[in-house]
């Protein structure tokens, strides 16, 4: 209980004093996760739409595989990206290991299947409603995908925010490919792990509260700006 109170005090103190290190790692957390989520959304949302409107031989298998990829172990993803980006790996010449870019790549691999799978589930239901109409109007496949992406945007926002939630709280992969280097690749989650390792629980808890508050604040802001709850069921 004392640790919790101390953590809360620590969090309030860090925020009120706009602690320089806290601001730096918070901004880096946001930079890495928002970049990863934007890239993942750019890949995952159209892929989810394409999967909804396209029938092909191994479609069920592809959907099952996509759903399975939602549970990718971050540590394994981190290891995979580490091997690809290490000096002896195929992309070693790019010199990306232990940079925020490497962390973004790892998060894209983790978040894309989540956004694609959830958005596919949402758009599949919509496609079931629209199927006959859009075929009757003689839309092209691209027009069908556009209709689903636009009309299903509320569901897609939820998919994207779920991806954001997964990314902002992720540690396994970014610890491996980022290395938790001070002033370079340290983010909130890796900083928390470091402080726990050092035994500074109040600071770790304080950082944790900042992380949770940030995630909630961003979710709320997006929901309010997009008026999710104001315009009926759509």
């Amino acid at each position: 209980m004392n640790d919790l109170l101390a953590g809360l005090q620590s969090a309030i103190g860090l925020i009120l004093h706009l602690d320089h290190d806290l601001v730096e790692i918070s901004l880096r957390s946001l930079q890495v996760t928002i970049s990863a989520v934007l890239i993942s959304a750019a890949i995952g949302l159209p892929f989810g739409a394409w999967l909804s409107v396209t029938r092909f031989r191994y479609r069920r298998l592809a959907i099952a595989l996509l759903n399975a990829l939602m549970g990718l172990p971050p540590v394994v993803v981190g290891l995979f990206v580490y091997i690809l980006l290490s000096r002896s790996g195929p992309f070693g010449v790019l010199d990306l290991l232990f940079t925020p870019t490497a962390m973004i790549i790892a998060q894209v691999i983790i978040v894309t299947p989540i956004i694609a799978s959830i958005s596919h589930q949402s758009m599949r239901d919509l496609w079931f409603q629209y199927h006959d109409l859009l075929i009757s109007i003689k839309t092209t496949k691209w027009q069908r995908m556009k209709a689903l992406l636009w009309d299903g945007r509320r569901g897609l926002l939820t998919a994207t925010l779920t991806g954001f939630g997964r990314g902002i709280g992720e540690i396994g992969a970014i610890m491996i490919v980022g290395g938790n280097i001070d002033h370079l690749t340290r983010v909130l989650t890796t900083a928390i792990a470091l402080e726990v390792g050092k035994g500074d629980f109040p600071l770790a808890l304080g950082l944790g509260i900042v992380l949770i508050s940030m995630a909630i604040l961003i979710n709320l802001t997006i929901h309010i700006l997009s008026r999710t709850e104001r315009e009926g069921t759509w």
Binding site: Y130, D132, L133, I137, K138, A147, D151, G152, W234
Partner: protein, 238 residues
Amino acid sequence: MVETILPVELNGAVVRKGEKIIIGPLDLSIGGTGCSILIGPNGAGKTTLLRLLHGLERANSGAVKWSARKNEVFSRQSFVFQSPVVLRRSGVENIAYPLIVRGVARKMARAEAEKWIDEIGLGDVGRYDAHVLSGGEKQKLAMARALITKPEVLFLDEPTANLDGASTLEIERLILSARDKGTRIIMATHDFGQARRLADDILFMHRGRIHERASTEDFFDEPKTEEANKFIRGDLLL
């Protein structure tokens, strides 16, 4: 561009679901102008026949032949479903959608849709999200969306099945107006009264086959088949 995509001909067309024959084999020719009504009991195959003609179903055997190339045929016909499907957009955007799909500039398409909103009497309500509309209003919206492309052939699958008298009257007014402007109407209904009011000819269907085709007057006054006779009398058709 050919002058007309009609007549459409079915030559031994059969639609199956698994082993079960839903309709066919059917031989049929529909051309000219006016309003043809498909009538028959539940499960007779009316909806499947409309969907087959419109290209939403494929014939497992036999053929559907239009008098024009495939692309032209499908761009000159529209379909109104029994349960209106509305896109998650405003009424105006729903109506404008088929024009936008065909490459008409959004501004022009919306202006055209606004005229239809007035034509179907939705007023300001049509400018808000379509989900707030009643069943009758949604069906009028679906009619306007089908008619905005000025189709040569309009398929209607029991468009007033779930509507009250006033809404039915409005939908029938739109159907007659389209017919008078030259659109060929092919419609399924259960409603004898509606068939009498709208039809130029009747196609009576039972168990996936067309048992009788006659002018409206002949069909109701002197049905030629036993099945049609029973159906008109209100006897159960098994």
